[in-house]
């Protein structure tokens, strides 16, 4: 007998919502994550648009609450495990953990989400952890009284720029367009903030420094001219890219690498579902991830019931 009824890969909002539904349906459910629970939410300093929280909630608290709720109904969450081998194509799907343990189940929901996209400019890899970061809650305090740049103009960029003003003397947001795409409420706050400056129509082209990051080359996209600006730290929030490694060659992907799935989160492989940010869709929010997870768990439950019933 397989070790579980359902294996969920990824303990972000999609995976944990699926776990809540699956565990309440009494499916033997395990959630695997390379990190601690929460996905990208856990490094978001505050969440203002998740229903049920009339005051802002810290991303890390929201993530912990999702996990507690899933565990309360009997789901097991395995933290900091690495999937070292897998076969998701058969009737029973197997995943090897840390080269020393195997879990298997007839149904799997892959909810591995997305990782922060990188700029892909010279010096970025070299100075990651030496001045370049994607986590303001982790690294903001390193820049007390310093001058930092935030790259990007979406919700994350603007929200995290506001957060960084707690530490940094000045926060300069470098944005490709002539406007910020973030929610109007955050944009208004950022534009009015005395410690925030915006560098419009601009993009970083290179990073440099002796040992740690000290300078960034910025191109003015309206004139094509570049110049070097001094900086102590750069926080990159330019969106995300799918973590679909587990599914490569197994399910159809869109040109950007996101998984194409049915309305019920199913893939062409029976018993294999996807949910959350790694799915091809128009909007990636915590609420939409939670909806995906719910649907995937209900669809998997229906699939398991049908599979258990002897053929008439």
């Amino acid at each position: 007998m397989p070790t579980h009824d359902l294996v969920i890969v990824g303990a972000g909002p999609a995976g944990l919502a699926a776990a809540i539904y699956a565990a309440r349906a009494r499916l033997r459910t395990v959630v695997l994550d390379e990190s601690v629970a929460g996905g990208q939410v856990k490094t978001t300093h505050k969440v203002s648009n998740y229903p049920g929280f009339p005051e802002d909630v810290k991303g890390t608290d929201l993530a912990a609450a999702f996990a507690r709720q899933a565990e309360r109904f009997g789901a097991t969450i395995r933290r900091a495990v690495e999937i070292t081998a897998h076969d998701l194509s058969g009737a029973v799907k197997r995943l090897e953990l840390d080269e020393e343990e195997t879990v298997d189940a007839p149904a799997v929901i892959v909810a591995t989400g997305a990782r922060p996209r990188q700029l892909g400019v010279p010096g970025e890899a070299k100075y990651r952890g030496r001045g370049i970061s994607s986590c303001a809650t982790c690294d903001g305090a390193y820049f007390e009284g310093k001058e930092v740049h935030v790259i990007g103009g979406g919700n994350s960029a603007v929200e995290e720029a506001l957060f960084l003003t707690r530490f940094a003397r000045r926060v300069t947001v470098v944005v490709r367009r002539g406007e910020l795409r973030a929610e109007a409420a955050s944009v208004e706050e950022a534009l009015a903030h005395p410690a925030i400056e915006i560098l419009w129509n601009s993009a970083p082209r290179a990073f440099a420094g002796e040992g740690a990051l000290q300078r960034m080359t910025v191109e003015d996209l309206s004139t094509g001219q570049t110049r070097e600006v001094p900086t102590d730290g750069v926080f990159v929030f330019i969106g995300s890219e799918p973590r679909a490694d587990l599914l490569k060659g197994l399910v159809p992907l869109d040109p950007a690498g996101y998984v194409l799935a049915g309305e019920d989160m199913s893939t062409p492989v029976p018993g294999l579902y996807v949910a959350g940010d790694l799915r091809a869709k128009s909007f990636r929010q915590i609420t939409t991830a939670v909806a995906d997870g719910t649907i995937a768990a209900l669809a998997a439950q229906r699939y398991l019931k049908a599979a258990a019933r002897p053929a008439a």
């Binding site: 990190s35 990651r128 952890g129 030496r130 809650t137 982790c138 305090a141």
Partner: protein
């Protein structure tokens, strides 16, 4: 915390890291840092695996700012690798995606350099 991971301060750095006589893996961590929490169990597992052959140390960045600055560490977690002679070697690991297998590979490389 695992018995194989020791928490040090900047004052111990010379003795524990530079004078260890063994490869050293040093993790700069912070509070309110989910990637640091995520690293902890992997770091402990690796420490156990290399017990007696390499030392696994952690240092709390907030209370050791000067050392972090001197080493050019600007994020948490940041994992540094030192050879037997106390020389820092190879690329540092940082951020959320530090894999246990990556730590293992680097320590094995340091042990192989004997």
């Amino acid at each position: 915390m695992s018995e194989h991971v020791k928490v040090i301060t900047a004052a111990d750095f010379e003795r524990e890291v530079l004078g260890a006589g063994q490869p050293v893996v040093l993790d700069f961590f912070s509070t309110e840092c989910p990637p640091c929490e995520a690293l902890a169990p992997k770091f402990e597992a690796a420490a156990e695996q290399f017990a007696g052959r390499a030392r696994f140390l952690k240092i709390f960045r907030q209370e050791n700012r000067e050392l972090a600055q001197r080493l050019g560490v600007t994020g948490s977690p940041t994992v540094l690798f030192f050879d037997r002679a106390g020389q820092e070697r190879g690329e540092r690991l940082g951020g959320e995606d530090i894999k246990r297998s990556a730590i293992k590979a680097r320590v094995e490389a340091l042990l192989g350099d004997a």
